[in-house]
Amino acid sequence: MQIFEYNGSAVVAMVGKNCFAIASDRRLGVQLQTIATDFQRISKIHDHLFIGLSGLATDVQTLYQRLVFRHKLYQLREERDMKPETFASLVSAILYEKRFGPYLCQPVIAGLGDDNKPFICTMDSIGAKELAKDFVVSGTASESLYGACEAMFKPDMEAEELFETISQALLSSVDRDCLSGWGGHVYVVTPNEIKEKILKGRMD
């Protein structure tokens, strides 16, 4: 199997009305064997900025630690949080630094920018940014996720409906993928609060 499919992953982010949702599966596997069912793929950078990383699990963890480090330095120097657009450029630059020996992960970045306008983007493993207005996907289940999101997405959904939509899209897509699933992890972020939920999914 390919190196991107070694651990298995599924990450998706969707835009709503002044809010966004980001969701991932919870499986950590070694090819077909499942090792853990509580692996963290989505991490908070600050209250209005999340990053979900799919791909090789060791690079997911290392890249996350590097990004947190860079963001903390930025906070010390600028005395404020990074904007999502700026953070996306930072991630892109860090990934391209390793152009000839890349981090084997594909990030999904989701945040609330100025005026609480939601921002989502995804990147390939060497930093090619892809901005989207509706949804972005990444991981071994990405093809199924594209189909499910395309069918279920509506613009300007409120937080409750957005949660339902992203959960359904995630669960139905990972049910068609051997390498991801075993539960789901969803964050719905509005200007005032972060709601974190664990999804009960098929454990096979």
Partner: protein
């Protein structure tokens, strides 16, 4: 006047040397297949084997106990990482008293099991008695041996009840044939063996045995990515086989490990 003898022609292909037909009971052992006409036959075979990519992504198991044979399997078909179906019948009913399990290439298993069913029926008609499990498994093993190296992917167990009692044989595409009490085949078999071997006793009731089989399949579907769907359990007794249960493993998980409602704890505390 030429007599119309088309009605006498049999659809069964006859082996090349006509004089051997007596030894074969009139039943040929090698159905004839068209071979490809290429300049590079060896290379062609290698490429076609790689195209089929045999990967036995499944979990099947069978064991003999006091009351007969218990056979169980999952129902997932996977193509690499993609799940192509969650509802495949992996326990094949060869005849009312014999079952075969499917692991490996679906087409291969379905075809050769059906072919075996035909042979068993022909044996019954020719000998006026049912074929034994040992004989049926031998027919299949010999057939697969003659196709050795051609890229068939079959890992099957033949389970049945004949005059000598319950019988269980493992047959694979290398032509291997093993008699035994407990087998599990497929990518999920290590996980199933763990549960099966630790819970197995010869003196089990049918309920206990079916629960053990179901639990073993469930644990295999949890750990193995290529197994999942529905856990089917069949029992083969002196009167033939019966299907005992077919439970969706997604629901089985929460049946064995119910979730106590609890709020998710925010684990990412940073000194911001």
């Amino acid at each position: 006047m030429k007599l119309d003898t088309s009605g006498f022609e049999t659809t069964m292909p006859v082996i090349g040397f006509g004089s051997n037909s007596e030894m074969l009971d009139g039943v040929s052992s090698v159905p004839s297949f068209d071979l490809p006409r290429t300049t590079d036959f060896d290379g062609f075979q290698k490429k076609s084997v790689e195209m089929v990519k045999p990967a036995k992504g499944t979990t099947t198991l069978a064991f003999i106990f006091k009351e007969g044979v218990m056979v169980a399997a999952d129902s997932r078909a996977s193509m690499g990482g993609y799940i192509s179906s969650q509802s495949v019948k992996k326990i094949i009913e060869i005849n009312p008293y014999m079952l075969g399990t499917m692991a490996g290439g679906a087409a291969d298993c379905q075809f050769w099991h059906r072919n075996l069913g035909i042979k068993c029926r022909l044996h019954e008609l020719a000998n006026k008695r049912r074929i034994s499990v040992s004989g049926a498994s031998k027919l299949l093993a010999n057939m697969l041996y003659s196709y050795r190296g051609m890229g068939l992917s079959v890992g099957t167990m033949i389970a049945g009840w004949d005059e000598t009692g319950p019988g269980l044989y493992y047959v694979d595409n290398e032509g291997g044939r093993l008699k035994g009490d407990r087998f599990s085949v497929g990518s999920g078999s290590p996980y199933a063996y763990g549960v099966l071997d630790s819970g197995y006793k010869f003196d089990m009731s049918i309920e206990e045995a079916s629960e053990l089989a179901r639990r073993s399949i469930y644990h295999a579907t949890f750990r193995d990515g290529a197994s999942g769907g529905v856990a089917s359990v069949y029992h083969v007794g002196p009167q033939g086989w019966t299907k005992l249960s077919g439970d969706d493993v997604g629901e089985l998980h929460y049946h064995y490990y119910p979730v106590a409602p609890a709020t998710a704890e925010h684990v990412m505390e940073e000194a911001a």
